[in-house]
Symmetry: C2
Subunit: 215 residues, 2 copies
Amino acid sequence: MTDTRVAGGATTTRRRETTRRRLLDAAAQVFAEVGLDAASVEAICDRAGFTRGAFYSNFETKDQLFLELAGEVALDRVEAVRRRIAELDREGAFADLPANAFAIVQDVLDVSADDRLSILLMSEIRIHALRNRELAAAYLAQDEEMRRAIARIIDDIGRTKTVRFRLPSDQVARLMLTVWEGASVRAAMAGLDYAEMCRRTNEELARVAQLLIEV
Amino acid sequence: MTDTRVAGGATTTRRRETTRRRLLDAAAQVFAEVGLDAASVEAICDRAGFTRGAFYSNFETKDQLFLELAGEVALDRVEAVRRRIAELDREGAFADLPANAFAIVQDVLDVSADDRLSILLMSEIRIHALRNRELAAAYLAQDEEMRRAIARIIDDIGRTKTVRFRLPSDQVARLMLTVWEGASVRAAMAGLDYAEMCRRTNEELARVAQLLIEV
DNA sequence: TGTATCGGATACACGAGTGTATCGTAGGAC
DNA sequence: GTCCTACGATACACTCGTGTATCCGATACA
């Protein structure tokens, strides 16, 4: 058996890992669509192409899976932002500052939730974080991490000296994140398609950006 | 029988009305605490001091009650803001402008959700609006109404001519609302008590306000 | 190719919640 | 005070989801 011995000493087969993966992905979809409570274990398994046997062989409970998923989403989001920043840096995007200053922030934020389902999933996690201490801590930590990542870009932008901000970088980051989230949710709620959703969100972000730049 | 004949022709007793009221209030609490899906009809009835017989005698389904409640919350919120504005006007608060300019907006926003439970309930409504067209329309309409109410205050403030804004009033209102909501939710998530919650939220609002005022 | 074992399917027992049909009574009309 | 009826309580039948105990087969290795 092709066991992949994990550091902890736990032993897992490759087959098992893909099963977990498929269950997690399916759960993400179902949670986004109907919410944690309305999502039955069975529905998740159906979506993943398994029966409940597979589920309970891989996860303790639906809640445990949700926690794991939430942690993953948080990491992924931060990671996606980090990667995009590195990529933009390699492409020399930061050299063209400040012409494309906030375009960069928009670009980076857009990577962090790339469709309607992501926004629904994030919202689902958010509301459960409001009722669960453990989840709340994770959510706030991720939020903080995102803020730091964005603040770093803001700092980079500011360092060119050709543009100055009317607030410290961390507050600029917070504001951009808040506005981005509000606009995304409103757009998703209005039932706009993804393209239009991005357009509106970016428009709103741009306005705030204008506001933030010292004249 | 003290029937209160309603315009439509429907006939309801006073007793019935208070039952409905108690069920709606209980439901608001339970929904805020555990969410729509996790809230059983029985739990709502327990809280209200009835059995399910009363529930099904007054409402078709839990969803119908939720819709009704959501509509009520939206109306109440807008109404509370309106009343507070009128009150402030009577008190002559608008005469002291612009010294207390954004203090007024803060004051007004604070009235619109007066505790942790309200924030939870609003969030619960929000996430269901993301998945339900009818609810989404109602939610967005309420949001729009709130925005208009706030914008009117902004206009009043602007009309004094001693203070100018760097964005049109409706966009100022949108921004204040967005920041207010973001800050409230983050504070509630962090488990802060109501006083501290208000303090932080207002602090964040004040910073944005500074930004919005033309120097 | 045989075989041991891991991983997923199946079957079942159970609880929780729902909605309805029926009943008893509180409270208003007279 | 008496009667009536609307209103809420109660009882029941039913569905749906859960979690576990057991079984079967795929898979990795000899």
